[in-house]
């Protein structure tokens, strides 16, 4: 009897020692929320629930937290609502996505100052004048397990993240892989090494072959929807689509200082009803922001749809210095505007899509082809134009363009061989595919921002009787 008792006691002691040697790290991660503030009450509920089970839960974002909802992006401090919501959820760190630069260096520095979480990016070095508190990595204590989190961001063809180049002046960017390799010492220093990556899924997979000392890559940028996570070259890689349809819960089991198990599951956020009420109130507060009632300019006369279209095209010209501009008719989403204040909210209703402005260098002939292509793909509505006017004749049989004449401001025919800098929005350019030489380039500002700036610069607008199209049906 005594022997049996002693055996059981020894087994229990062994099990206790074994359990003490076995630890778990739990990570809740998101990527590319793109200002989906409406998902935060649900995300907060998921974070609270997991934290109740795992008090040392780490909460991370792989970047591109902003850019996607004017409620966030047009706040007095642009993108502050997302920072406030992430603070409330209890985020520990974020990577720097290319869209983090959308409110320029000073805007990003200000947001970082307002963040209760760390901003991690090893392959950028901002000039000290910005006072931008970006760290390459941080070691977190997750219940006695040291987790080294290293941030990294993708560089585009220009050697900088994909945003307007002027927003990255005086920030030095380094090759991501070469930079990551400099931090291999984290393997010695930490129980777990996590790469918080805004590099994109394919790059994460490619890099995994060269980074055997990394345990997990929490990824973003390519908006790749994984079913939880995938193991590539022994590294667990996670990522979800943008706008928070899911968050990822990753678990790493550590026994005798070795990771013996890695797994990840995705947790649905969209369409779920249980929410964190504090976050729901915060979202409501931000959504009812009185700033959207702010007057940008006074419309001295009522405006019909074509006059609004002409105004949009004028905004593209005035705010970008382009020679010519055009805008698909379907992209002007209000039919009319009464005399009086034109507010931030009016601009959001008129142009709600957050399209980027795109410049194309093209000849007059190439522009004419783009206008016809746009007409054919926009339900046979001719686009509005700026810096010139159009006389267009349609074939009554099928509605196709039979004749198109482009006229300059003096009423003379536009030189079809001359190259012009033309600005439009990204949707319009995409639905105007032609064989032109220049494919175009995003200029890193959204069209509602161009319109907002134009109205503020004008103060008063009067488009009464303004026509940019003469249509013969």
């Amino acid at each position: 009897m005594r022997k049996l008792f002693l055996s059981i006691l020894l087994m229990l002691v062994a099990l206790t020692i074994s359990a003490q040697n076995c630890k778990e790290v739990h990570i809740l991660s998101i990527n590319d929320p793109h200002a989906a503030i409406e998902q935060f009450p649900r995300l907060g509920f998921v974070a609270d629930s997991l934290r109740a089970l795992y008090p040392d839960l780490l909460i991370l974002s792989a970047g591109d937290n902003r850019s996607g909802d004017p409620v966030n992006d047009m706040f007095e401090i642009p993108a502050y609502p997302m920072v406030a919501l992430m603070n409330q959820v209890g985020f520990h760190a974020t990577a720097v996505g290319n869209h983090e630069f959308d409110s320029n260096q000073y805007g990003l520095a200000r947001l970082i100052t307002l963040s209760a979480f760390s901003t991690l990016c090893a392959n950028m070095e901002p000039d000290p004048k910005f006072n931008m508190h970006v760290k390459p990595y941080q070691v977190f204590d997750a219940g006695g397990v040291s987790v080294g989190v290293l941030g990294v961001t993708a560089l585009g063809s220009m050697g900088t993240p994909e945003s307007h180049p002027t927003r990255m002046t005086d920030i030095r960017f380094m090759d991501p892989l070469e930079t990551i390799k400099k931090y291999e010492f984290l393997r010695e220093k930490c129980d777990v090494v996590l790469l918080l990556s805004h590099l994109g899924y394919e790059t994460d997979v490619k890099f995994s072959a060269e980074l055997p000392w990394v345990d997990i890559i929490v990824g973003g940028h390519s908006h790749t929807q994984l079913d939880g996570g995938e193991i590539h070259n022994g590294i667990l890689i996670t990522q979800n689509s943008k706008n928070l349809p899911f968050a990822t819960h990753s678990t790493l089991v550590i026994k005798d200082q070795k990771i013996v198990e890695k797994k990840a599951e995705r947790i649905a956020l969209k369409g779920q009803t249980a929410v964190n009420k504090t976050l729901a109130e915060l979202v409501r507060y931000f959504s009812e922001n009185p700033a959207f009632k702010r007057a940008l300019a006074v419309a001295e006369t009522p405006m019909n749809k074509e006059e609004l279209g002409c105004m949009v095209c004028d905004a593209y010209l005035a705010e970008t210095g382009a020679d010519l501009s055009y805008q698909n008719a379907g992209g002007v989403r209000i039919e009319a505007h009464e005399t009086g204040d034109m507010t931030v909210g009016d601009v959001m209703k008129m142009d709600p899509f957050q399209n980027d402005a795109v410049e194309v260098f093209c000849t007059g002939k190439e522009l004419a082809d783009m206008l016809i292509s746009c007409y054919n793909n926009d339900k046979q509505r001719f686009p509005y134009v700026g810096g010139f006017t159009c006389e267009v004749t349609y074939d009554p049989a099928d509605g196709k363009v039979k004749k198109l004449v482009l006229l300059d401001k003096a009423g003379k025919k536009l030189n079809l061989k001359k190259t012009y800098r033309v600005v439009s929005n990204s949707y319009t350019v995409a639905v105007s595919p032609t064989n032109r030489k220049d494919e175009g380039k995003s200029i890193g500002i959204t069209t509602p921002d161009l319109i907002k700036n134009y109205l503020e610069h004008q103060g008063k607008i009067n488009y009464q009787g303004r026509r940019c199209l003469k249509e013969n049906k």
Binding site: D32, H34, G68, N98, G156, S157, E162, G200, Y201, E202, H221, S222, H223, T224, Q225, L226, S241, K242, N243, D356, V358, V360, S373, N376, N377, D378, S426, Y427, V429, A430, V431, S432, P433, E439, G440, K441, S442, G444
Partner: protein, 71 residues
């Protein structure tokens, strides 16, 4: 910037999203561009990607175009 959409070469502007490649593909095929928002897009591995993903991340994507129902 060039990429393949359902094996067709599509040229998009620098800084474009997957949405713009899909729109250009539909326009080149003479299809209704309004379809774009209802399509599911996949990368070369078969992972679902969303329309807001940067086009520069992909050299090919696949979309399933629903066939018109028989009358």
């Amino acid at each position: 910037m060039k990429l393949k959409v359902n094996r067709k070469n599509v040229t998009v502007f620098e800084g474009a999203e997957v949405r713009h490649a899909v729109l250009s593909y539909l326009a080149l095929k003479g299809m209704d561009v309004r379809l774009a928002d209802s399509l599911t897009v996949y990368d070369r591995w078969g992972h679902e990607i969303d329309l807001g993903a940067p086009a520069s991340q992909f050299d090919m994507i696949k979309i399933n175009i629903p066939k018109p129902k028989d009358q």
